[in-house]
């Protein structure tokens, strides 16, 4: 039924990332708490990382590297590097977002997003 020698096709990774992204979108739209919305954002970042790495591993460039008198076929690490930058930006976003949540909690005594509406047209 399942041949373990064949790697998992890239469609499965895309499907998993899509479902995870949709879960994150649902959380962003449905949750009222600011911290819960930030957590849903992190889910969406992770879905993007999965797609980046999966595409690069399956459809990326493979080139031969001569290292230490041995030739080795290596896959291009571009997707992983993009994922590392996404992780960096997500960490910065989490820090600023949580600081904003704490500042809003101190100001409004609540981080319910329906209470923070002074900038709403």
């Amino acid at each position: 039924m399942i041949n373990p020698e064949v790697p998992v096709p890239v469609h499965f990774y895309i499907l998993l990332a899509t479902l995870l992204f949709c879960i994150g979108v649902f959380g962003c739209l449905a949750r009222r708490n600011a911290i819960a919305i930030l957590m849903s954002l992190e889910l969406m970042f992770n879905a993007c990382n999965i797609v980046l790495v999966a595409f690069c591993q399956r459809h990326g460039v493979t080139y031969t590297l001569q290292a230490f008198s041995r030739a080795q076929d290596i896959e291009s690490p571009v997707g992983q590097i993009y994922a590392i930058f996404v992780i960096t930006i997500a960490a910065a976003e989490a820090a600023v977002g949580l600081a904003l949540a704490i500042a809003a909690y101190r100001h409004f005594k609540s981080i319910n997003m329906e209470d923070i509406n002074i900038l709403k047209w």
Binding site: I2, P4, E5, P7, V8, F12, Y13, L16, L19, L20, I23, G24, G27, A30, R31, N33, I35, A36, L38, M39, S40, E42, L43, N46, N49, I50, V53, A54, Q57, L65, A67, F68, R70, Q72, I74, E75, P77, V78, Q80, I81, A83, I84, F85, I87, T88, I89, A90, A91, A92, A94, A95, L98, A99, L100, A101, I102, A103, Y105, R106, I111
Partner: protein, 242 residues
Amino acid sequence: MTLDVYQSLWSYLDWVARNLFGAAQPHLWFWALSVVILASGIGVVTTRNLVHAAMLLALCFVGVAGIFILLNSEFLAAVQVLVYAGGVVTLIIFAIMLSESITGRKIVAHNRQSVAALGVALMMAIVMVAILLYNQEGYYVGPWRWWVTPQRNDFPAISNAQLIGRSLMSTYTLAFWIASVILAIAMIGALILARGESDIPEERDRPPGTCSMRFQRMRSSSHEHHARGDLKHDTAESEEPE
């Protein structure tokens, strides 16, 4: 593989361990990790208790790290566990604790689940020891050889972390610098945003656009000194425009 080959429970466990940890089972691991990731993601967006949501988020991040290992990106998996499951979830839990009364009830630090926690820790210990006892090919190496470095002759000439390090230091250096500057800016901005109001009570009703009360007091006291002529050597240097 029929089960009647295995005479005892231990040999059956041996077979399970060899087929789980040893041989490559990408499909099995993919489906298991997918179930974990999607279930914990749904839990994150649906559960009411925010602390439970943060714990499920950590579980989801660990599952995504497993997906990265399936995709031959070990360094990224380590970064995922360290940064996301270690850093971001801790930050989120700190924010939840700082803004208590979100969930409507006080968050308790101690619970009555220490027996269950002990069981989970023991299971993790058993799994880790089992990983130590079996080598890459799934053969039992025995408890007396756990300190021996595994011998592999197909060891890659350049590892995943080396590859990423070379790329970050050669091709993507500018992006690396920009990311570090962004991290520094975010850290300073988060500090300024979260610093909040002062603890000194008179600082709270200071009108906007004026300097700090303590600094005003310092300045006015030095004016008094000038007026009384206590600091003669200072008057020559700082002229007061009346």
